[in-house]
C-alpha cells in the first residue's frame, strides 16, 4: 500500500522534496502540497485503490501525512468490504 501511496504523491502532490525522502509523519502541506494538489491526490488515490472519499469525512488531516492516508484507506476498505 505504501508504495502505491507514494507513487500517487510523487505524481500529484507536487512536493518540494523527493517522495523517497518523505517520512511517514511529514506534513504534506508543509512539504509543499497545495490545496488544489490535494484534490488531485484524493482523486488519484480513489483511482489507485478503487475507493471513494466521502466528502463529509474529508477533513484536512485525512491527507496531511502518509500515515493519515494509510489509515483513511484502511478504514474505507473495511467500510466497503
Amino acid at each position: 500500500m505504501d508504495d502505491r501511496i507514494r507513487d500517487v504523491l510523487s505524481e500529484h502532490a507536487r512536493l518540494a522534496i523527493d517522495v523517497a525522502d518523505l517520512g511517514d509523519d511529514v506534513d504534506l502541506y508543509q512539504a509543499g502540497m497545495t490545496s488544489h494538489a490535494s484534490v488531485n491526490v484524493m482523486l488519484a488515490l480513489e483511482d489507485a485503490f478503487d475507493i471513494e472519499f466521502p466528502e463529509h469525512r474529508l477533513g484536512k488531516r485525512r491527507l496531511e501525512w502518509v500515515t493519515a492516508i494509510r489509515t483513511a484507506l484502511t478504514e474505507l476498505n473495511k467500510g466497503s468490504g
Partner: protein
C-alpha cells in the same frame, strides 16, 4: 469579545486547474464545482480554467475565513459556492458544513473579490462581523 473582521486570500495556478480538467474530467469538476459555477465558466477549456481557478481560490479563501478546527470536517468544496449575478458581480453562498462554521463564528455576510491575470487567479474574502465595531 468584540467581533472582528476576518480576511482570507488564496491564489490558484490556472494551468493546474486545466491539467486537472484534462486528467480527471467530470470527476474533478463535479467534486469541486457546483452546476452554477460550471455554467458560469462555460467556454473553451483554457477560458473555463481561468474562471474555475478563481472560484477555487475563492473557496479556499473562504475556508481561511471560516477557520475550521483541525479536527473539524473540511467544508466540501461545493458547500462554498460562487454565485454570479446577471450584472456579472459575484458573491458567496454557503450551505452544509460551511454554513455551520459561519454560524458558529457569527458570520452573516461574506464579501468576495476575484481576479486573474496570466497564469494566476486570486480571490479575497472578507467576513463582516455581526455587530458594528465601536470604539468602546
Amino acid at each position: 469579545m468584540r467581533p472582528g473582521v476576518r480576511v482570507g486570500t488564496d491564489v490558484t495556478a490556472i494551468p493546474d486547474v486545466l491539467a486537472s480538467m484534462t486528467r480527471f474530467g467530470d470527476r474533478y469538476l463535479d467534486r469541486v464545482f457546483t452546476p452554477h459555477e460550471r455554467a458560469s465558466c462555460a467556454g473553451p477549456p483554457a477560458v473555463a480554467a481561468a474562471g474555475l481557478a478563481a472560484r477555487f481560490a475563492a473557496k479556499e479563501a473562504a475556508v481561511k475565513v471560516l477557520e475550521p478546527a483541525p479536527d473539524d470536517a473540511r467544508p466540501p468544496w461545493r458547500s462554498i459556492e460562487v454565485r454570479r449575478r446577471p450584472s456579472g458581480a459575484c458573491h458567496l453562498e454557503l450551505s452544509g458544513e460551511a454554513a455551520r462554521l459561519a454560524s458558529r463564528a457569527g458570520i452573516n455576510e461574506l464579501a468576495l473579490s476575484m481576479s486573474h491575470e496570466g497564469s494566476v487567479a486570486i480571490a479575497v474574502v472578507v467576513a463582516l462581523p455581526d455587530a458594528p465595531i465601536s470604539d468602546d
